[in-house]
Symmetry: C2
Subunit: 211 residues, 2 copies
């Protein structure tokens, strides 16, 4: 499966029922979302496993890769296409050895040093941010457009920008060398996740990817 990072949805289950959550994901994919990451930092493992199985049914139906945040055990159990780890999760080289060569490994990296280390340790892509102020992860380091450009220029694997990206500000990421935009709220909290995805993908394709 060629990894198309153009529009990368990181999910957020908070304040949503399972059905609402799953419907948003399906609508987002219908609107063009190219990657889905599930992320549950709280709750029981069984609940995450069961939810992840349901998400996997949807992503498989549309042939969109599913990435599991942090929990490599859940990723292996549901046979997701990949895992994504942060700087306070399992070390990237250990993660790579656990998932083997075939699964996708994403790593959050906010500096050139972290990005280079992630690439060396076996990452297939990095997630970098926060490129704009964000309420979802208020402890995320914030970086400038120049920082982002420096990071993308320092590695040979693709970079997804994350953090506070909206329909209004996404075009500011033109020229930074990113391979995709990653959003949480802009889709999860949108009134129409399908249209939000269509519009975000359009901005990425027309304003960012070609610049």
């Amino acid at each position: 499966m060629k990894l198309d990072l153009s529009l990368y949805l990181v999910t957020d289950k908070r304040n949503k029922t399972d059905d609402e959550f799953l419907e948003i994901i399906e609508e987002a994919i219908k609107g063009g979302t190219t990657v889905v990451q599930i992320r549950e930092k709280e709750g029981e493992t069984l609940d995450f496993y069961n939810l992840a199985l349901k998400v996997k049914e949807i992503t498989s139906k549309y042939n969109v890769p599913l990435i599991v945040n942090d929990r490599i055990d859940v990723a292996l159990a549901i046979k997701s296409e990949g895992v994504h780890i942060g700087q306070t999760d399992m070390p990237a080289d250990v993660a790579r050895s656990l998932i083997g060569d075939e699964m996708i490994l994403g790593v959050s990296a906010s500096t050139v040093e972290e990005a280079r280390k992630a690439e060396k340790d076996g990452a297939d892509y990095i997630g970098t941010g926060a490129v704009f102020p964000t309420a979802t992860k208020d402890d995320a380091p914030s970086i400038t457009k120049d920082d982002l450009k420096e990071v993308t220029g320092s590695i040979n694997i693709p970079t997804v920008a994350i953090g506070g990206i909206t329909l209004e500000n996404a075009n500011e990421l033109a020229g930074t060398g990113i391979a995709g935009i990653s959003v949480v709220s802009a889709i999860m909290n949108s009134k129409d996740p399908k249209i939000a995805s269509e519009n975000l993908l359009k901005i990425y394709n027309e304003k960012i990817d070609k610049n």
Copy 2:
């Protein structure tokens, strides 16, 4: 490695520095603890992974099996001897498929039905409780000595009793058919974890195992 469940320590890192925590584990092993389980339900994966690596150094030095609670990814990453899962963690059959045939699989089971299912799903032992009131897991179901005896009699794999076991009440478990006693506070919060272990193991060997 033959699994000797006689004195099974479940650790609790709360309110302890790494050094204090590791010293308690080493002293407990010197006092006769036969299995160590590490359990961290909060905090970052990287912290658990790093702590688990340090515990593994100690348990390997004394040839005592190390069991990781819930986090199969951490268990695989540090090459622990086994994993232990509760009824709200990964399903036991999925856990078994992730860890392969060689690693030890323990499952918490408080009823005959849960115990039989655990055995069928590939558990090597079950942990059953709480046999006495406990402050460590105040949401644990409590069971009587008759319940415990019914569980041990219903399966062909060994049972470890857990929950509020102390030097004062452990002898009450005689005649229940258990293969070991599991404690948290009786060792973790003891002034002398080595002597506490010696005394608990003595009670198990003299009052419970032979009855």
